[in-house]
Structures are given as C-alpha cells and as structure tokens.
Symmetry: C2
Subunit: 403 residues, 2 copies
C-alpha cells in the first residue's frame, strides 16, 4: 500500500501549477496573439514560431475558453481577460455563416476557408462564449452561446447535413462524439440554460453512453454503434479511441457527481481502469491512439502513435476517480501516466508540450500547436489536476483508500 | 561506372517475374475472391485471412484491371479472365448510382455504403472496364468505360459536387490528382477514345503538370497550386507527396515517349532525380510519405512513414527513365530503391508485400490489403518492371550509358 500524505498532493499540485503558469500559459501569451488581424495563431513550432496563419474555429474557440477559465479560476488577471476577448472579437466578426453556424476554418484575415460542415465548431463556440459570458456578465456573449447551443440541438440528428457521405439505411451508425461533447457542454452552460433542459440533456447523454456505447463484455466505450447500440463489425464499428473513452468517462463522472449518482461513479472508475488496461502499450508504454475491437489492423496509419491529449484526459479520469472514490487502482494508474507524460511530452526548454510521438516515444512532429493542437488540452488538464490535488491536500488528514 | 550486362537485366527480370507470378498473383487468387456474393475481399491479414468484408470501389476496379492486364500481357490464363469478370460482374450490378457515378464503398452484398463523392472511383472504373473491353472485345464493357469517362470529363471542374467543403473564392486551389490520373487513363483508353480527344487531353494534362504543378526552383511537383500555378503558403499548398510526384513522372514519360518528345523525357528524368533527392530519408532510408515545402511540420501524423506504393512508383520512374535515356543516375537510384524495397516490404513467407512501415522500417500494420491497399500497385509495378527489364535485356549488347 502506497503512503499518500498531504505532501504528496502538494508536490503534484505544485508541478501542475508551475507547468500551467510558468511554462504553458506564457507560451500562448507570448506567441499566439495575432495583433494585426485579431484572433490567435495556433500553428507554432517547438520554440513558438508561427508556421501557418490559418485560423481553425475549434482552436480559436478553445483558446477563448481557456483564458476565460483561467481568469475565472486562477486569479482575475486582466491580461487573460484581454486575451480571451481578443479571440472572441475575431470570432464574433468572422466566425459564423449566414445561418449562424460556425465555419471550420478562416484565413488569417477572417475570410472563410471551410464551410460550416462540422458541428463541433459550434460546440466549442458555445463553450467559449458560455465561459466568457460567465466571467464578464456580457449579455452579447450569453446570447451567442445560447443561440449556438440551440442551433446544435436542432442540427444534432443530422449534424453533417448535405456533407454527409453515408448512404442512407445500409449501415446506420451513431457516433460517440456529439453525446460526449454535450455531456460536458451542458455543464459548461449551467449558468445559461434552463434547469430542465440541463437535466434532460444529461440524462439522455448518460443513458446513451452507459447503455449504448459502453460494452461491458470488453470493458470499453466504442466510438460508433448501431442505432440501438449494437456492435457493427466494420472499420467504424470496431474503431476504438482509448483517450476519447477516458475523456468521456471523466465527463460522465462530473454528471454523476452533480447528480449524486454514486453507483455511476463506481462504474465509471471500473471502466477507467479497464480502458487503461485495454489501451496501454505494454512494450513501449503510453496509450495507443487507435485500436480495433477485434485486434485487426486499424484503418489509421497513426494508430500506434502516442498523442498528448489522451494522456492528459487519462490523468484527469484517474485523479477524478481517485478523488471521488479513493480507489488506489486510480492512483497507481495516475502515477504511471504522470511519469510517462512528464518524461515524454513536457518540454521544459521552450514551454508547452510536444503533441505527437511515435509508438516508441520519440517526437514525431516538432510542433507545439497546429491544425488540431492548440491552447486547450494541456492548460485545461493542468487546471483540473491542480484543483483536484488542492482538494485532496485538504482532505489528506482523514483519508481512507481502497487497495 | 557500373558494368551493366545482359545478365544483370535478366536477373532483375527473374526477380520481378517470380515475385509477380509466384508470390503476388497467387495471394490474390487464393484469398480475395468472394465466391458467395461476388467481387473481392481486399482486407486481408499478412497470411491472407479476411478481416473486413466491405468492398471499396477503387480496389474492386483496380483488381479487375490487374487481372485483365495479366491476361493481356502475361499469357492468356483463363483463370485470370474469370477473376477479372468475377469482379466486373459485381461492379456492373452494384457499383453505380442512378446518374451513373460510382459509389465509394459497398457492403459485402453490394449495398451502397458511401455516396459517389469521389471521382477517382470513376477513374478506376473506366480503367478497369477499358482494359477488360480490350481483352474480351465485349461491347458492354466498352460502353461502361466510355460513358464513365464522359462522366469524368463532365464532372472534372467540380469533382466533389455538393460534398465540396471549400468556401468559394477565398483560396482557390487546383489539385494534382485528377490531371495526374487522366494522363494515365487516357492512354489506358487508347483503343476506345477518339484520337483527337486523346491528344487534346494529353496536351492539356502535360501542360498543367509541367507548367503549373512542377516548380523548377524546388525540383519537385506540388500537390495543390493556385489557379495559375502559383504557390499557396498553406497546409494544402505546401503539401508534398514524393511518391505521387514520381508516379506522375512516369505517366508523363509515357506521354513523352508516345509523342516523341525527347526534351520532355530528359526533363522528366531530371525531375525524377531531384524528387528522389528531396524525398529520401537520409537517416533511415526510404521515401517519406508526406513533406512540407517549407520544412514546417506536415499536417499528417503519418508523414514520416514508409509506404509500399511510393517505392514501387519510384522504381518504375527510375527504370523507365533509364530505359529511355540510359542515364546512370536513374540506374543508381533504381538499385537503391530495389534494395530498400526488397529488404523491407517484400514478404516471401506468405506472399504479397507489407504496405505500411514506420520511419525506421518496421512493419506498422500487419496487413496485405485494406481499405486503400489492394491488388494493384505491387502487381502493376512488377509487370512494368519485368517488361522493362526484358526490353533492356534485348538492347544490352549495344548499350551506351551516361555516367
């Protein structure tokens, strides 16, 4: 049995806070602001040089969210508020098409490049403006979050619209992505949405994830299932993304905590553990990016690579699970993930983290930000982990752990 | 100066013929036929087990082409003709939508899974039925090839139709894929199309590739350029695919040979060499899959992996260049590519080749066929290489080479 003292939690808390405030946030403060045209640069090399100036809506929104959250939770630094509104202004001016849907990408000046085919752009926009409305109280921001959320609900049955290439009725599948994001988004918009809308969404999403996407016989969450949750023996149906499953699980534990559903918390912890056992690379360490349910060759060539975000999401899932249950399996996996992550992803030389490693753990792409990696998973993870460590530190005196 | 004797060419010819007829063709003959529902399985493990039964139109068509070509060029084996028509029947029955466009994917029984959004499905269908009409003289097959080709020409300005997600007029780019495939397809349909259509297409395609996609200052062919051939400093504009460039170059040499354009042949050889120098991994050997024109991090996580088809296409480009010019740079690169390829991709235990290696040359996906790898690049390459070696063998007596 490991001995967990107050000092253990303080020491981890300091690691996360330091990395957040001295290594990660300064990186984005220093290199990502486009002072000429507004918005953020997200394509940044290892040492912060801009290598592409396109503006991807997911990442623009996520950075607004991050700096709003920092402002709300880590000291009301005016500079953080300015950075958040700097991105929000750009998004407000250029981000939406005529019908209010959010584009996928803009050029540096804000001209649309890619049509609003991707409903996750809308999800991250609602998340960004929701958080910004929370810290500023600005009704303009609240309104954007609200109408965007409404738009998501209206589009949710057919999110890709005319861009959907699936032929109807041959193999109807539902994808985890949207219920998964909604489970988090609804809580993010707690201060804006009606209580009954929230509860209805949470229950619907919880039901889908637990009863349709989760497969007890495998102990993991699938990415795509049939309309009644049945397994589809196809590339999409067999597709496993352990990091995505783990992120889903801490969203689910947030819902369970809010609803006081202790059964779901315990179940969530069990699935966290079985997902980690399923997704961990026994030979080189780290979590595989993609796997195949039947162990067949996955479709994606990058399947065996180690990406930053699944590891952060896994750490959150473990620490949240430990915080809520004191289950030592969670703590042991947490330490294993922390050690792998700190050894492989963190770049103490230039700040922020590398995002893309080979299976063996070598840096595969020398970047800190790109088309898909921005100011989001790392700072969000560090914020959550340091707050959880702070809570644990406070409880450390009277802690009982389950071996 | 290397000494190239008749025996050298005979020995390579035997290697390719043996690999084709003893290792590659039997693999597909033995494992790929769906005798129950028609068409081919292409998702095959290293030893030939079927791990997915979906039928991807690109690969169905390419296998029809391969067995038709074998029948036409490597002895009129009835079994090959049967295998070709086995796939063609399935395609004829299930492959097209109402307007005659070809779907992207069907399920095992032939029900459409993915809409006809991808014009390359049509290109490979025209290629398949064109070759089959050549060996059988069947007017039904000729008609399918002809109408499909007509359909491609009509769709070529807006190939993705309503599925095109690019916002109009912000950053208009043209993609190499279609002119590149057309440069080969037109020659494949030589026996079907009118002479003037062929010459017009060949000249248009040649002009586009040489004057717009090829960039002399870099010595390489780009994948996406502006409407007047200008370089676009964007992910798409900087995207380099050395193997695709090399495949384009041997298509171009075929046109140059047909038109007796010796200047273009020499130019083609120079670009082959500069592309190989650009795309070769000096540390681990092999050709990178994707690169960035400015050396920035590419968007694709699999950028540094080594794939089978770029290496085969590179070998064809080198040997064709050598055959047409006796330029020893081509021969030296050819040998280097052959050695890398034979050491890393060829699987003499179960036949066919591995397709996907890590940067370091380890097998990354244990498959012989999948959603994108079927019965095509390996047998096509082996057919072309062995025929070229046979020609060289015949000329070996009076050969002068340029050092």
């Amino acid at each position: 049995m490991l001995s967990l003292t107050k000092e253990t939690f303080i020491s981890y808390k300091n690691i996360y806070q330091d990395n957040l405030l001295k290594q990660t946030v300064p990186f984005w403060e220093n290199y990502s602001l486009d002072k000429e045209y507004g918005g953020y640069f997200t394509c940044l090399t290892a040492n912060g040089n801009v290598y592409d100036t396109d503006k991807f809506i997911w990442l623009q929104c996520r950075q607004v969210w991050t700096f709003s959250k920092l402002y709300g939770n880590f000291g009301a630094d005016k500079n953080w508020l300015e950075i958040a509104t700097h991105g929000a202004d750009f998004l407000e001016n250029y981000g939406r098409g005529k019908d209010g849907s959010w584009y996928f990408a803009l050029d540096r000046k804000g001209h649309p490049l890619v049509q609003p085919y991707n409903i996750f752009s809308d999800c991250f926009a609602a998340m960004a403006f929701g958080q910004l409305s929370k810290i500023t109280g600005e009704s303009r921001y609240t309104e954007i979050a609200k109408t965007t959320f409404q738009n998501i609900l209206e589009r949710q049955e057919n999110p890709k619209g005319k861009y959907n290439k699936a032929y109807p009725n041959t193999r109807e599948l539902q994808n985890l992505g949207l219920p998964m994001i909604l489970s988090n988004l609804v809580l993010e918009l707690d201060h804006i949405l009606h209580g009954e809308v929230i509860e209805q969404q949470l229950n619907s999403v919880k039901d889908k994830i637990v009863n349709q996407f989760y497969k007890p016989e495998y102990g993991i969450i699938l990415e795509n299932v049939g309309l009644n949750g049945e397994i589809s023996d196809s590339f999409q149906g067999r597709h496993i993304n352990p990091g995505h499953g783990l992120e889903t699980l801490w969203f689910l534990m947030d819902i369970a905590e809010r609803q006081g559903d202790s059964e779901l918390i315990l179940k969530g912890v069990d699935i966290v553990i079985s997902t980690l056992e399923y997704g961990w690379d026994g030979k080189y360490g780290g979590l595989y990016y993609f796997m195949d349910l039947k162990g067949s060759p996955p479709e994606q060539l990058e399947w065996s690579q180690k990406l930053w975000w699944p590891h952060i999401e896994a750490m959150i899932a473990c620490l949240k699970g430990f915080y809520l249950t004191r289950d030592m399996r969670c703590w042991e996996w947490f330490v294993k993930l922390h050690d792998y992550t700190w050894e492989h992803f963190v770049d103490e030389k230039y700040g922020e983290w590398f995002g893309y490693l080979t299976r063996e753990g070598k840096v595969n792409l020398e970047l800190k930000g790109g088309k898909w990696k921005g100011c989001f998973h790392v700072p969000r993870g560090l914020m959550i982990l340091s707050l959880l460590m702070k809570n644990l530190e406070e409880y450390a005196g009277n802690m009982e752990c389950k071996a």
